[in-house]
Amino acid sequence: MARLIRMDSTGHTTIAEWTAADDAAFGAAVEEFRGQLDQGYIGTVPEGPGKAAHVRELPRGADLVVLRRPIAGG
């Protein structure tokens, strides 16, 4: 089961779950993902040690997609 999670004040919240074979669940996850991007979140897929990718569309085959806030110099 793939998960879309958002890092927030609770630690993290699971926004959506889907399987590659479940079109309806994936479609709902895509809608949630776009809604979160509209709120300023950034989609990131952890790709194992030392690697992550920025995603603008929800990848159907990903196991985990993490929504994070933008970073900035302090």
């Binding site: 999670i5 890092m7 927030d8 004040s9 609770t10 630690g11 993290h12 950034i42 990131t44 952890p46 790709e47 040690p49 030392g50 690697k51 992550a52 990718a53 920025h54 993490v66 994070r68 806030r69 933008p70 970073i71 900035a72 110099g73 302090g74």
Partner: protein, 212 residues
């Protein structure tokens, strides 16, 4: 690291992209700058003592300046990784779980012990904290201190580390470009200004980076 650029780069279009050459140049500039404000005070103090021993109080003040000013800069550098802001301890266990999933076994233990996540990169070995990061150069002889964070104040500390870690893993050079460079200097200068519990992380990063 992936080739995909960090989206936050759009917010700093005037900055040239940070790379190994940029870091080397900045390291040299910081070294020269340190000499520039240390040597004159030191020389003046010694000269005063040599010419007129009665000037000893003023000479000692000048020598103290030569010691204090570099220490203040090192303190500023080390401060980028000091814990800051609200702790949100209630959500921390959940955030710690996610961060733990992102880290390897040894890095997870080190992060729990020190608060800093060790991340090998192409520019060197990173130590990522809640509101900043340290970069130990591949030769282990210099530490660059970067001030960078996420503006959402109510995030638990481990989530702040995860934010920075994911951004770093997405685009290392972009991460260093977005971050504000606060200091560069010898590891021993930064180490002595780090909170005691964080010092083993710098030792591990130096060991991972190479000889120094």
């Amino acid at each position: 690291m992936t080739a995909d650029a960090l989206p936050e780069l759009a917010s700093v279009p005037w900055r040239s992209r940070t790379d190994e050459r940029w870091l080397r140049r900045y390291g040299r500039l910081w070294h020269a700058w340190t000499l520039l404000y240390t040597v004159p005070f030191l020389a003046a103090g010694i000269a005063m003592l040599a010419l007129e021993p009665l000037t000893a109080p003023v000479a000692l003040a000048a020598i103290a300046h030569a010691w204090i000013i570099p220490e203040l800069y090192a303190f500023r550098g080390a401060s980028v990784v000091r814990p800051k802001g609200p702790r949100n301890e209630r959500a921390e266990p959940v955030a710690q779980g996610l961060l733990g999933d992102l880290l390897g076994h040894d890095e997870r233990d080190l992060q729990r012990q020190t608060g800093l996540a060790l991340e090998p990169g192409e520019l060197g070995t990173w130590l990522v904290g809640e509101s900043g990061a340290l970069l130990v150069t591949p030769d282990g002889r210099r530490v660059h201190c970067f001030c960078v964070g996420v503006s959402e104040r109510d995030l638990p500390p481990s989530d702040r580390v995860s934010h920075l870690l994911l951004a770093l893993r997405t685009d290392e050079g972009g991460f260093a470009t977005v971050a504000n460079h606060a200091f560069a200097g010898a590891p021993w200068r930064v180490r002595r200004r780090l909170p005691v519990q964080m010092r083993p992380a710098l030792d591990s990063a130096r060991a991972a980076a190479g000889p120094g």
